[in-house]
């Protein structure tokens, strides 16, 4: 494989030189690669393998680790928060997709039509993405305060009754979705906008000549032309939102009554609050398997459709 990639430099094709050059080139190349190889090995590859190993072990970092089969998984599954954690994560993902997937696309379509204030609107929609997530989340914690938060004050302005937001089981999860959408929709919007701008104008002109109205043009030109990016973003967003952690960690602590506990949050709790790291790993492995399915589809899609 390597010898084939050497450019056939003018005439000098004697075997020893070629071999020596190949060896030297490989040594140099791995010299350049060693930093990255060390970083990846310690902080990506080894943790990936260890994630699997630890799920089937009992370790306390004093005694040698003990293989315990599926015990960690049994511990996790029998936890009363296990069911809610998955249901909430799934529900959060669905709701976050309803808001965080549709809204940015519609926004992008509208922005693409506007001829004024484009720079301002693009800047503004991306502003929350630039804030540290902890800042956005703590800001919304204040807004959600039932007594003096902005949201209830605005509701009060329209003579509507205030809500309990984070404190009620019925609104807590949707409150998290709102924060999440607010702080993340900017990137989706700008990505879609970039995709919309690559649509050739001839397609719209042709559709118009064929008598297609505005909504037909969006349905039959805009959406098919951005189908790929829509699919890619859908998969990426599923993977990202299923790892929701910071919102429940900072806003609700999983409460009230497990209404907002998520899988990653439960995993964190096992490791750092319940002192059962291996159970946390087992839970992480379950999530990894679920997410890998989406990642695999994503890779498949993006590989088949690029180049």
């Amino acid at each position: 494989m390597t010898t084939a990639s050497i450019p056939a430099a003018g005439g000098r094709r004697r075997q020893p030189t070629k071999l020596r050059r190949a060896v030297r080139r490989n040594v140099t190349a791995y010299g350049f690669l060693c930093g990255a190889l060390i970083c990846f090995a310690f902080f990506s590859w080894y943790p990936m393998i260890r994630e699997v190993i630890l799920s089937f072990q009992k370790t306390n970092f004093v005694d040698p680790p003990k293989w315990v089969g599926l015990e960690n998984f049994r511990t996790v599954v029998s936890d009363p928060a296990f069911g809610p954690a998955w249901v909430n994560t799934a529900l959060f993902t669905v709701l976050a997709l309803l808001c965080g997937y549709g809204i940015p696309f519609v926004t992008a379509i509208v922005l693409n039509e506007l001829r004024h204030a484009r720079a301002y609107l693009r800047f503004v929609v991306y502003l929350p993405v630039m804030l540290p997530p902890a800042v956005s989340v703590l800001l919304f914690q204040w807004f959600y305060n039932p007594d003096y938060g902005l949201f209830n004050q605005v509701l009060d302005l329209f003579h509507l009754p205030g809500l309990q937001w984070l404190n009620s089981t019925s609104t807590a999860l949707i409150s998290l979705v709102i924060v999440s959408t607010w702080m993340n929709m900017g990137s989706g919007t700008l990505i879609y906008l970039a995709a919309l701008q690559t649509i050739p104008s001839e397609l719209y002109e042709a559709a118009e000549l064929d008598g297609a109205g505005l909504f037909k043009r969006i349905r039959h030109v805009t959406i098919p032309q951005t189908k790929l990016i829509l699919l890619v973003m859908l998969l990426l967003q599923i993977v990202a939102t299923m790892q929701v952690f910071i919102e429940p960690y900072l806003l609700t602590g999983g409460g009230p009554e497990n209404a907002t506990v998520s899988v990653v949050y439960l995993m964190y709790q096992y490791a750092f609050n319940f002192g059962n790291l291996n159970a946390g790993n087992a839970l992480g492995l379950m999530l990894m398997i679920v997410l890998m399915v989406f990642s695999a589809i994503y890779l498949r899609v993006s590989r088949d459709n690029t180049v």
Partner: protein
């Protein structure tokens, strides 16, 4: 409206036409809508009177709602920090703080020791930036231009890390930082706990390699014939022409480290080593609301400034990531 293609300045120049237009009010020739980029709405419809009315209504709605949704919360945050606790609790709320004072900010700076927190975060972001560039640029260069044996396997392994959701391997990665295999170093509470994992970024390697692949081979061969070593070629030929992608990678790295929450939460538990997000979050429940809000403002200033300065790079990085995964 066929006369919209006429330049408005020119048609207004003759008194006769402008007088006619005064009378006819709505039929003044206006600057036609910019139809350079054809979009879903037809330019013809957009230039009719009805089209224009609808367009301006939509524009106003969008601008107002975007301002309300994305700017107003920030305004509320900045002014909220200037209000006293009583004023924050007041009903109805005050739109402007009753008096302008920066005391809330000063108090937040002292109480939360924001100077230390911001300094820590700058140290983590800066170091991660340098290390990431050094490590990922040389790796991408080796994979793209030196093409060693098994290079494709190495690349595939690096890209495979993109498939692994970061949250899922955070526990074993934490254990690695706590006790690095073979070396038995404890990196907790040291900047290395942030720097080294930041450098293991498959996406950066991918972006850089893709850019390096596009550099014509002849350019490097010319340098090679002149006797330049691979290191010299990287430094004097490849890096100077790769500035755009280096900018994108730099911004992505710095912004990611600055915004990150979970990883620093795990590996930097000491309060004098915390990054600014973690520091504020850990003290948030003990602070008066106005002090907390002031600290949020201060914590967001650096990222907002970076955004102002490097908006183009940031948006380029965004689409570089999306259009190809």
């Amino acid at each position: 409206m066929s006369d919209t293609t006429v330049m408005p300045g020119r048609s207004a120049g003759t008194p006769a036409t402008s007088a006619r237009q005064e009378r006819r009010g709505p039929r003044r020739p206006r600057k036609p809508m910019n139809t350079q980029f054809r979009t879903a709405v037809s330019p013809h419809q957009l230039n009719t009177t009805r089209g224009r009315i609808v367009y301006w209504i939509v524009l106003v709605i969008v601008v107002v709602s975007f301002t309300a949704a994305f700017v107003f919360p920030l305004y509320w945050m900045i002014t909220g920090a200037m209000k006293s606790t009583e004023e924050l609790n007041a009903i109805p709320p005050t739109f402007l703080p009753s008096h302008f004072s920066l005391d809330g900010y000063l108090e937040a700076w002292d109480l939360l020791d924001l100077g230390t927190l911001l300094g820590n975060t700058a140290l983590y972001a800066g170091g991660a930036w340098l290390l990431t560039l050094a490590v990922d640029v040389s790796a991408a260069y080796a994979l793209s231009k030196l093409r060693p044996a098994l290079g494709k396997v190495v690349l595939a392994l690096m890209l495979s890390t993109l498939m692994i959701p970061p949250m899922v391997i955070m526990l074993p990665a934490y254990l690695t930082v706590k006790d690095v295999p073979f070396l038995h170093w404890n990196l907790l509470n040291t900047p290395w706990a942030i720097w080294l994992p930041a450098a293991a970024n498959g996406f950066n390697v991918f972006l850089l390699k893709r850019f390096f692949d596009s550099i014509p081979r002849e350019l490097l061969e010319a340098a090679e014939i002149d006797g330049a070593s691979p290191g010299r070629i990287l430094w004097s030929v490849v890096i100077p022409i790769s500035r755009p992608i280096l900018g994108v990678v730099s911004i992505l790295t710095v912004v990611n480290v600055w915004r990150d929450f979970v990883w620093p939460l795990l590996v930097l538990p000491d309060s004098d080593k915390m990054s600014v997000s973690i520091g504020i979050a850990s003290l948030s429940s003990q602070m008066p609301q106005n002090v907390l809000v002031a600290s949020l403002v201060i914590a967001s200033i650096p990222t907002i400034v970076v955004f102002f300065l490097f908006q183009r790079h940031i948006m380029a990085g965004l689409t570089a990531g999306s259009l190809k995964g």
